[in-house]
Amino acid sequence: MRHIISVLVENKFGVLARISGLFSARGYNIASLAVSQTLDPAVSYMTIVVEAQDEKILEQIKKQLNKLIDVITVTDFTKKEHIDRELVLAKVAYSPGDKIKLEHLLSKCVGKIIKHKGDTAIIEAVGDHQQIRQLLEALGDLGVKELVRTGRIATLE
């Protein structure tokens, strides 16, 4: 099962390596990781999506994160009301005849065609996990040539 954990850390040398090292040393898989500054430039905010089969592993992950000296707080979003978003940039097959179809698909989330050239369009879309999954499935029929995603970010309601 996938869990979202947010971690507030000191914005210091080597912190990201410490966090990712903790996961790799214990054989835990990070599904996605997004890092940014907060309003306080001395503190960074990480949203980590992690794959954990059972509660016990999730507990260990949280405890081990908490043990790191540069970690200020760890919040598990799993059982809490939260909003999460992900940004996708994709190059999709495009012909003027597809335009309506593509725009219709994108209207189901926050998305738009940024640019098109020849037989390719670059689209952006923002949505929660469900929306992004549905969009990518639908885009699959059109033909996706390249795809980049930010990884999820999340905040408590």
């Binding site: 000191e10 080597g14 507990e59 260990q60 405890k63 908490n66 000296i69």
Partner: protein
Amino acid sequence: MKMTGAQVLIECLKKEGVRVMFGYPGGVVLPIFDKLYDADIKFILTRHEQAAAHAADGYARATGKVGVCLATSGPGATNLITGIATAFMDSIPIIAITGQVKTNLIGSDAFQEADITGITRPITKHNYLVKDAGELSTIIREAFYVASTGRPGPVVIDLPVDVQLGETDFVWPEEVKMRGYSPTYEGHHGQIKKAAKAIEASRKPILYAGGGVIISGADKELKALAEKTNIPVTTTLMGMGGFPGGHKLFLGMLGMHGTAFANHAIMESDLIIAVGARFDDRVTGRLDVFAPYAKIIHIDIDPASISKNVNVDIPIVGDAKTILAGLLPLIKKAPDTAAWLKQVEKWRKDLPLKYGSSGKIKPQYVIEQIYEATRGEAIITTEVGQNQMWAAQWYKYEKPRTFISSGGLGTMGFGFPAAMGAKMGCPDKIVFDIAGDGSIQMNIQELATCVCNKIPVKVAILNNHYLGMVRQWQELFYNRRYSQTCITGPDFVKLAESYGAAGIRVTKKEEVRPAIEKALSIDNVVFMDFQIEEEENVFPMVPAGEAINRMIGGMA
């Protein structure tokens, strides 16, 4: 007052109470060594940086203070790694200071550059790369605080040479402020109450104590609890000395080479009170069948240790000494353990530790004799292998910090340098390294350090001409195919003498005790080469991955 980074370092070390440190020089630490030349800190030049780290570790284990080691960048720093990892696994507070190339060369593959903060990240409690002399005093203060509080551990401070030379105002930070770090000492009161109730209601309780008891200094409270409630006590390897070895409630060590009676007792218990122990796989054996009838109370300062391996019913996070002191008065009536103690005593009688009596010297006998000759008052360090297990089984440790051994990492070559460190920390104590002929060869060069600095530790080499513990596994599980475990050694007596130390060879049982007495009377390092029974095994033994009451023989 203006000072260079190197001066700041020395000032801070003095303020932290550092009187002795261990290490080895090199190009990028010359500014520090230059300042050490006039400083009032005893510097022990080891012959290998690995030994410096182990010596700092041995010093810390013996004294309870923070041990300090210093090495140059690159190869000097990487030579510390095994020692740092050893300290990390056993939660020992050491500070390792490493030199680093100039800040503007970092990342350029400069001469003797190694990314030491990167390399040590998974084996330190925390580490620092100092970029500016101005932040040095704060970092050192934090480093000592982090190393020695909560669950202790090693901290690395990587110090570029230009930072050592950089000028700064010296400011000693009175307070340490770290928002991401605040260890819990007080246990949760409600949980402690629950624990008291569970103890009162138990019929077959057992105390299972680990290294945390020694680290927190909870031995008196542990003894008081055991005596008040009549609960038998078993310890891990790291917990030896946390409960008096000769006490009638003491069952000895549990686990892979634990006593049969300790293993049976924990497997049959209805309540395990784990204190500062982490349910290591060498202790639990096969996890899914471990202690099937027991409720578990787990007292530990590290929340991540709780419910990591076994599910805990009553977790109490905090300092063992504080929690036990709080728990004691809450227990109003002792549980009725009379029948249980009778059962335990029957196991003790039926399944004692024992060894045979063939012609050759038995290693167990050597250890018993060391115990008698030192009246249990020595500090014993060990190497790793059979020697370590025999030292755990056959010497009675009455006091904390008298048994010093690499438990978590199992580092061969640890015991001799750790003995040097322990002796530097406790000069009035007899310090004995119990060694295998394989292990001693891993840091044998420290003979020079001992002789040169007059550190008169005694080394009892249990010489079986094998990598004994590995040979034992090959005997039992690989059909006696002794692949690469027959090891040759030098003439240990001559070797010791060539370094200016003393050497004694012992080939007969009758010579064992006189040799030990003689070694004790010599004011120098002594290597005792005990030619022991070559294929002696450590029993009982739980095969890896088996339930811990499925032991292979205690033979006779």
